[in-house]
C-alpha cells in the first residue's frame, strides 16, 4: 500500500477548486467520489454469497460521511443568527462602547482581557466555533475601531478561540483521546492551564498590543453609537446573560442541570434579543445568517465525504502508519505537523485518529501531560484549510473576505503554540516532578 491515491485525490481537489473555480465543498466531494472509484469502491451495491449487500456502493458512504458535521452546522447557523440579532438590536455596538470606554486607554490590558473573553465559551464547550461566533463577534468591533486591520483582528479571534478549546475545564480533544484509551478525564487542570494561559496572553499581546497602542481610544469611542444603551439600559444585556447562564449552569451544577446543547442556547439568546433592544427584522436576519453559513456548510459536507472515503479505502490508516513509522529523530516533528494538518478535515477527528496512537506511542511519559500537549496540537487543526473553521468564521466576524489572509496572520502564533506543546510534552517528566511532586 502507499499514499498515492490520497495524493491523486488532493491533486484533483486542487485542480477543481483552484483552477476550475468549483465551490470548495463540491470539489472535495468530487475528489472523494473519484478517489473512491479509483480504489475500487463499487458504484452499485454488490452481492456476497448471492445475497445483496445494501450500503456497499460509494453513494451510501458519501452521504454518511457528509452527515458527520450536522451538529456543528446547526451551531453555526444559530450562531450566525445570534450575531445578526445582536448587531441589529444594538447590543453589539453597546458592548463595543463599553469595552472601549473601560479599557480603550490601556492597550495591554485590553488585549489580554479581550483574549480571555473570546476564549471563555471555548473553555466551557470545547468548541472554537462557539467562541468565534459569540464572544469573538463581540470582541471584533472594538479591535477594529482601535485600528487593527481585519486580518489581524480575525487572527486574534481565531487564536483566542483555539486556546479557549485547550483551556480547562472542557478540552474536547483531550476528552476524545481519553475516551479512546479508557483514561479518566481527571488531573488535567494544571497541564491545560500551563498549556493555554501563557499562550493566550502572549498571542493576544503579539497580535493586538502594538496596533492598540497606536490607536486613538477617544476617536474610536466617538465613532461608536451609544444610543442603544441609553434607549434600553441594562436589559440590552439580557441575551448575553442568558447565554452565559445556559452555558455555565450545566458546568457548575452538572448533577441537576443538563446542557440543552449549543444550538438551543444560541437560539434562546437570539429570541430574547428580539425583545430587549432595537427592532430586529427577524426574517431578514435569519436569511442573512443562512446565506452567510451556506458556503461553510458546503465545505463541511465535502470534508465529511472526503474523510469517509479515506477511511473506507485505508488511506487514513496508511497516513497514520506513515507518521508513526518516522525515525525517532523525526517523530516529534511528525506529531507536530500531522496533528494540526489532519485538522484540515477535522480537529476533533485529528484528536481521535492521530492523537490516540501518538499517545500510545509516547507511553512512558506522564500520559496526562502528553495527552494535554497532543490536544493543543489537535486544536490547532481548526486553523487548517480547507475547513479552517476558526479562520473561516473569524474572517466573517471581522468582515475579511479572504480567510486565507487571516490564516497567514495566525501562522506565527500557531508555530509558537506547536513549539510550546512539544516543549511541555518533552519536559513533562520534569514538570510533573517540579509542579506535582511526583
Amino acid at each position: 500500500m502507499s499514499l498515492w491515491p490520497l495524493g491523486l485525490m488532493v491533486l484533483l481537489f486542487i485542480l477543481l477548486f483552484a483552477r476550475l473555480r468549483w465551490p470548495l465543498g463540491l470539489a472535495l466531494a468530487t475528489a472523494a467520489l473519484a478517489g473512491g472509484l479509483l480504489q475500487g469502491v463499487p458504484l452499485t451495491a454488490v452481492e456476497q454469497g448471492g445475497l445483496p449487500i445494501p450500503g456497499s456502493s460509494i453513494w451510501r458512504h458519501l452521504v454518511e460521511g457528509g452527515f458527520v458535521y450536522i451538529d456543528p452546522i446547526l451551531i453555526m447557523v444559530t450562531a450566525f443568527f445570534f450575531m445578526k440579532v445582536i448587531e441589529e438590536n444594538g447590543l453589539l455596538s453597546a458592548l463595543t462602547w463599553w469595552i472601549l470606554k473601560g479599557l480603550g486607554s490601556r492597550p495591554a490590558l485590553l488585549a489580554t482581557v479581550l483574549g480571555l473573553f473570546v476564549a471563555f465559551p471555548g473553555m466551557l464547550t470545547g468548541l472554537s466555533t462557539a467562541s468565534v461566533l459569540t464572544t469573538g463577534a463581540i470582541a471584533a468591533p472594538p479591535l477594529l475601531r482601535m485600528g487593527l486591520d481585519r486580518r489581524r483582528a480575525g487572527a486574534f479571534v481565531a487564536m483566542a478561540s483555539i486556546l479557549g478549546v485547550v483551556a480547562p475545564p472542557v478540552n474536547l480533544p483531550a476528552m476524545i483521546i481519553c475516551a479512546s484509551v479508557d483514561m479518566p478525564y481527571l488531573g488535567f487542570m494544571l497541564p491545560l492551564l500551563l498549556l493555554s494561559l501563557p499562550l493566550l496572553v502572549v498571542c493576544s499581546l503579539w497580535l493586538a498590543w502594538r496596533p492598540l497602542q497606536s490607536g486613538d481610544p477617544a476617536a474610536a469611542l466617538e465613532a461608536v453609537e451609544r444610543g442603544p444603551l441609553d434607549r434600553h439600559g441594562p436589559r440590552l444585556l439580557l441575551p448575553l446573560l442568558l447565554i452565559a447562564v445556559l452555558m455555565g449552569g450545566p458546568r457548575l451544577f452538572p448533577a441537576w442541570w443538563a446542557s440543552p446543547g449549543m444550538p438551543v442556547v444560541l437560539l434562546a439568546g437570539s429570541l430574547l434579543g428580539l425583545v430587549t433592544g432595537d427592532r430586529v427584522r427577524v426574517g431578514a436576519a435569519a436569511w442573512a445568517a443562512l446565506r452567510q453559513a451556506l458556503p461553510v456548510m458546503g465545505i463541511l459536507v465535502g470534508v465529511g465525504c472526503f474523510i469517509q472515503i479515506l477511511t473506507l479505502t485505508g488511506q487514513r490508516g496508511e497516513l497514520v502508519l506513515t507518521v508513526l513509522q518516522l525515525p525517532a529523530w523525526a517523530a516529534w516533528l511528525g506529531i507536530a505537523v500531522s496533528l494540526p494538518a489532519f485538522g484540515a478535515v477535522s480537529a476533533l477527528g485529528s484528536a481521535s485518529v492521530l492523537g490516540v496512537p501518538f499517545l500510545l506511542a509516547l507511553l512512558g511519559r506522564p500520559e496526562i501531560w502528553v495527552c494535554a500537549g497532543l490536544s493543543l496540537l489537535a486544536a490547532l487543526g481548526d486553523l487548517m484549510p480547507p475547513a479552517s473553521l476558526a479562520c473561516n468564521f473569524s474572517a466573517q466576524v471581522t468582515g475579511e473576505p479572504d480567510y486565507f489572509r487571516v490564516l497567514r496572520r495566525c501562522l506565527g502564533p500557531a508555530l509558537l503554540c506547536a513549539l510550546w506543546a512539544l516543549a511541555v510534552m518533552a519536559a513533562s517528566p520534569w514538570l510533573v516532578q517540579l509542579l506535582q511532586g511526583r
Binding site: P54, A179, D182, G314, Q325
Partner: protein
Amino acid sequence: MKILLAIPPRGRAWLLLIGVALLAAGAGRDFLAQRQAEVLRPSTGLSELRRLSEWHAPLAGSRGDTELYRFRGAEPGGRVLVLGGTHPNEPAGFLAAVLLVENLQVSRGEVWVLPRANASAFTATDPQEGTPQRLVLPTADGRPRWFRVGGRATNPLDQWPDPEITVHRPSLQALSGIETRNLNRSYPGRADGSFTEQVAFAIRSLLEREHFDLVVDFHEAAIEYPVVNAIVAHERAGELAAMAVLGLEMNGVDIALEPSPLNLHGLSHRELGDHVPGLRAVLYESANPGQGRLRGRTDAAQILAGRDPCYLAAQSIPGMNKVPVDSTGLPLWLRVGRHLDALRETLLALELVDPDHPVSAAGLPSLEDLRARGLSPWLSPTP
C-alpha cells in the same frame, strides 16, 4: 466540463439539486435496509423468549427494545446474563452471542442471552468509519446468512442531539459528547434518563430483579488499544476471572486479566458490579483489526479474515500492536472462539467460587472446533 458550463447557472443549480435528491433517495434506501434485523434461530434448549422492555416498560415499541433468550436447565443453579452487541461495530461480540442463542443447551442453572444489547446501534453505522452494513457467512448447509455490523453508539434518530459534554450519572464524570449514546458508558442507567441510559437501566433492572449471579459483556477492541485479548473484572469477580484466565492459559489461549478501573465510570463491569448486589461482572475483549486507527481498507473481508496490511506493517513499531499480528490475521472465528472459550472457563470457575449457584452449559463450539471447521457448522441453516 464545457457542456456543463454551457448550461445557465439556474439550470446547473437544478441539475445539482436533482443529483442530490437522487443521492439522498439511494442512500436512504440503504439506511432503511439497516433497520431490518437478521433472523436468529434459537436452539432446542431455549426455554423462553422475552423482551427487554419487560424490565423497563417505556422501551416497549422503541428501537431499544430487543429479544432476550432464556435457557433454563433441568437442575436448579445460578443465573448468568450474556450481553452481545453492546457495540455492534464489534462483530465477534455479536456473533459469539448468536452462536450461544443457536447452540446452547443448559443442564443446570440458567443462561440468558441478550444478543443485541444496544439494538438501536445496529440500525446505523458510524459516519467516517466506512463500516460495511452486513457480513455474509455460510451456514451448516452451505447456504449464506447475513448479519448486520452497526455503529458503536445508539442511532442518532433515537437520541439526538449530543451535548458537547456527557455527564455520567451518578458519578458526574465528564466525557466527550458522543459518549452520551454509548451504552457501555451509560450504566447504571436511569429510568427517566436518555434513551441509552434507559436501555442501561433496563439491563440493570433485569439483573437486579431476577437476582443474577454473573453478567458477561462481549466486546472487541482495536489492536493498539491497551486492554485487548483480556478479561476485565469487577473486584467482586476478581477470583472468578483469575480462575477463568488460568483455565484459558492452560488451554493455550493467551489472555490478560485486567481489574475494572475504580475511577472510570459508566462501564458495565464497574457500574453493574457496584450497583447490583451480589453480582459478578466481567467483560471480554478480543482484538479486531477492523476497528482501529491504523487499519487499512475497511470491508467485510477484513472483518471476516482479520487480515490487515497496515497492522502487519505496524508490527515493526515497538509496542504499537498490543497483540502480535502476522499474515494469518485475526479471523472472526478466532475472536468468537476466544469469547466462547472464556465463557466456558468462567462458568467452570463460577462452580468453584460459588458452589451454590453453578451453571452448566453444553452445545457450544470450542476455539479448536472453530479452528478446524469455521463458524458455519454452528450457524443454523436458512429455512
